[in-house]
Symmetry: C2
């Protein structure tokens, strides 16, 4: 029995308790408005957000490897849920809610399977520019989708352009009381984020405490707005849209069986939510772990997040993952172990069991303002700038992913981004740097003849290819060499230096074999040098290997001497 | 005006004429049965195959760069046409014929556009194993689809398994006369391919003439079978299915406007037909050109094939490309210039204008036997064997493409193959070889400590990564180094040798920056050596570049000396 307990629980020390309790409490105060808001973003009733904030936290605490990651509903996964379910059912309907749980189950099972198969490395196929573009694009999409709630305007447009048009045409019909509350909350939250912590520090609080309290501004907005709406009866009298009835009581556990239609429609969104959620969680967890010299095990993270999503599905929730802001707060508030998450889960359970009535008069505009302030901080211009200066191809895939998400939707955007990353990789490898080289006088070193003063032999063409040889560059290398040979009738030897050739695939092998034949037909000897061990091992036994016997040299110098000996003085 | 003429025509010399005339005539004799057969394979009436054998040949002669490539209907493009049109219209219907022309137009326009944009290199993204698997898979698919005609059995199954089942259940109802003609022709053609040339040589003919005459066996079968069917009235009396009425007269030129539904359904098949056709044409043209020291210009080939397909569409044809067997015969028969193609085109035009009645009694079984014998020679087992020995990953993508084509269809198969090629590339690059290195005593060379006796310093970890650093391997390299560092508390310096690092993308830059930070936190100095010029240029100006100032060494030896100086004796 004790074996099944996670390490952190087996070795729990009492001195860690106060940190975990404090962090668990503070995260809960953040989590309440966020879980309500993100459920709204996902097109789900508010209680679903609360349900997704109990069992998933406990499941992650049992199986995950991060000491400080705070799991639960997050903005991007909520957006992806809404996008996946939009074509399948009406927002908020019973079928929609059931599909959200199925999506979470599918995603959880995939994550668990990846974890058991140790496929954590799959996440590395998403390059940073693609992830950055995806997050920024999602943040823009979310912001645009939430502005209407700030003004009490209705819009059912599925795309960004339509939503913006509805906003402009709908502005004259904006609800005045909603607009005051919405914009007021937005201004308050922005000010709080910018100055509250500084101001609290001036009042004498420590920097870290002030920083934490600054993070609780959304809860203050929630309480104040509920008080105002209740006090002035703004829901009835002024038409302010409110959260309304949130059912009290913990959700019954449900055993859901995925339907075959559900599976067919949801496997791709589930896969993308799993991958994106995993990548985000691991990078947050890793950066926090590094600060305390702790270690994240990616395959354990897959299990932790998988268990959390299965738990979410079973308790009537929707897809969850590790949240950036809450994890940072959890860390800063002194969380020592995942017990902090368990504390949050228990507090959330108490809220669901007894206090959901309190949210009746909470204006939707306040939730939207919370979402907008949370996600605009995710729009990452500095990475775009840095990438732009460092690597244009990467910057291009970042921008394409961002625009793809904004204009075509989250799924198309991330698929586009991955395709572009791969295309960039192949494109670069397909245009290798090829240098004609000669010997640095008095040494055994060979360098580019265009950059250095080097010795050459009139009947030798010596080249260095700075890339592995494979299908995308084989034909190019072959034709480059044939062009150089055709230009100079004195050439009797062609030497290819392979210090950077880590592999030769079968397409390239065929190209080299063809090249050797065509050179031989012109009475030119083809030679290799500095071939790596593993490449050499495979060359032996091939036709090319046999034809090149005695013509593969350990060093360029040896080949140079050989050509010198073969040539008439 | 003269400027617009192709070079071969401007500089035409009379001594080339006899070769071109002979080759044009011989290719025509091959082309007649093949164009009828491939039209049947594509699900089109026989005359469409004849139409596709006139103007496209002239268009290619004007724009292409190969002196000997024989353009026209080919087996694989015919199969792809049938597969693309199957879901859209009934075989042989007017709509089906119109869509075939649209497909040819789209493919032609794409090829022209690629040629003008100089995108010939795109073809290199299809690796040889994928192409080989695709061709072999198509040949199997075609063979299976044709067997029923040999026995006069009907089958409408769209897939291989269903067709084979229909064959077995239908065999008792086979038409006796058709079976005799079909199997007889098959045996004759196989024998002719194997022994006719040898036998002709024994009769005293030269090897090359005997080889050429051997290629004309299909025409002999056509003539003999027409005579037999006519003489014994087998079509009426014995139920032998015949080609029937082939309209006489050249096709009217038609201006076709692609419909938007056609475009939506056909763009992907058109793209695949274009790419596969282009790759096949170029490789045939290239191998023939090499034998005569001529040159193929891939971008000109795109223009030539594009013009041929547009011409085919305008004259009521269907997609065409360069055929393997006919090109080889064209070359062997002495074709000197594309005039041979023009001769073929004119002879075909004469056939269409005056002699189509002759084909009335041609049995379909003879055409099927022609197709089967032609395509089974394309099933390439030796490449599979060689690839299996040389490179398992390549062999796997060959087999997957082959099985994909046979079981899922031509389009799914080729997409699967390309995806697998890319995945194999990323997979290999994502698991780079990382060696811990030391100095070979008495030299400035550094080698793997597991393979060589080398000197090391107790406080230095020196590694060499044999791969560019990019998103798919950055995290792996980072964690490998951190694991090695964690294992040995004496380490104060980490040196990364980059002679094989051709690029560092922005994901890898971020990983190295993180690595440097985490090492610095442990009071360990991170150093680089043997960084290539272009990589170095980009590192400057980055945060990592600034932090590593003075710690990037020209050679591993320099870094080794530096660590020696820094260490207490």
């Amino acid at each position: 029995m004790k074996r099944l307990l996670p390490d952190w629980l087996k070795h729990y020390r009492a001195d860690k308790l106060s940190g975990d309790l404090t962090a668990g409490l503070i995260v809960t105060v953040m989590l309440i408005p966020q879980s309500l808001a993100y459920a709204m973003l996902a097109g789900l009733p508010p209680e679903i957000g609360l349900y997704a904030s109990v069992l998933p936290l406990i499941a992650y605490a049992l199986f995950g490897s991060s000491m400080t990651l705070a799991v639960g509903p997050v903005a991007v996964a909520s957006l992806m849920t809404a996008s996946a379910l939009a074509p399948l059912a009406e927002q908020g309907s019973a079928q929609y809610i059931a599909l959200a749980a199925q999506l979470s189950l599918l995603s959880g099972v995939m994550l668990l399977a990846f974890g058991m198969l140790r496929l954590g490395f799959l996440a590395y196929f998403l390059s940073h520019p693609v992830i950055s573009g995806f997050i920024s694009g999602s943040a823009i999409l979310i912001t645009v989708s939430q502005i209407k709630h700030l003004f009490g305007i209705s819009s059912a447009s599925p795309d960004v352009v339509g939503t913006l048009r509805d906003l402009i045409t709908g502005l004259p019909q904006a609800n005045p009381a909603t607009t005051v509350i919405g914009l007021g909350t937005l201004v308050f939250l922005v000010m709080a984020r910018k100055w509250l912590a500084l101001w609290l520090q001036k009042l004498g609080l420590s920097a870290s405490l002030a920083g934490l309290l600054g993070r609780l501004a959304p809860m203050a907005a929630v309480i104040a707005s509920i008080a105002i709406v209740s006090g002035f009866n703004l829901a009835q009298d002024a038409g302010v849209r409110i959260v309304g009835n949130v059912p009290r009581g913990l959700p019954a556990l449900q055993l859901i069986m995925p339907t075959s239609e559900g599976m067919a429609a949801l496997w791709l969104p589930a896969l993308l939510i799993s991958l994106v959620g995993f990548v985000e969680s691991v990078s947050v967890a890793q950066s926090l772990a590094l600060k305390r010299q702790q270690k994240i095990v990616p395959d354990r993270e897959l299990l932790g997040l998988g268990a959390a999503n299965v738990a979410s599905a079973l308790s009537g929730g929707y897809p969850v993952t590790g949240g950036f802001a809450r994890s940072v707060v959890n860390f800063a508030a002194g969380a020592n172990t995942p017990l902090a998450g368990v504390v949050s889960a228990l507090l959330m359970a108490v809220v669901i069991a007894a206090f959901t009535d309190l949210f009746y008069n909470l204006p939707q505009a306040v939730l939207s303002a919370t979402i907008i302030v949370a996600v605009t901080s995710l729009i990452d211009v500095s990475t775009l700038k840095e990438t732009w200066h460092y690597d244009r191809a990467d910057a291009f895939s970042l921008l394409a992913t961002l625009l793809g998400v904004v204009l075509l939707g989250v799924e198309a955007g991330v698929i586009l981004g991955v395709a572009l990353s791969l295309a960039a990789l192949v494109w670069r490898s397909s245009h290798p740097h090829i240098a004609v080289v000669g010997r640095v006088p008095g040494t055994e070193h060979f360098r580019n003849i265009e950059r250095h003063k080097v010795d050459t032999l009139p009947n030798l063409l010596a080249l260095r290819v700075d890339e592995s040889l494979f299908f995308a560059n084989a034909a190019l290398v072959q034709s480059k060499i044939e062009t150089l040979v055709a230009r100079d009738p004195n050439i009797r030897f062609v030497l290819l230096l392979c210090p950077a050739v880590n592999q030769i695939d079968s397409t390239a092998l065929e190209a080299l074999t063809q090249l050797q034949s065509s050179l031989q037909a012109k009475d030119i000897k083809f030679m290799l040098a500095e071939v790596k061990g593993p490449v050499m091992d495979r060359l032996q036994g091939t036709t090319l290997g046999q034809r090149l016997e005695g013509l593969i040299f350990l060093s360029a110098h040896d080949a140079f001497c050989y050509v010198g000996r073969q040539s008439p003085a």
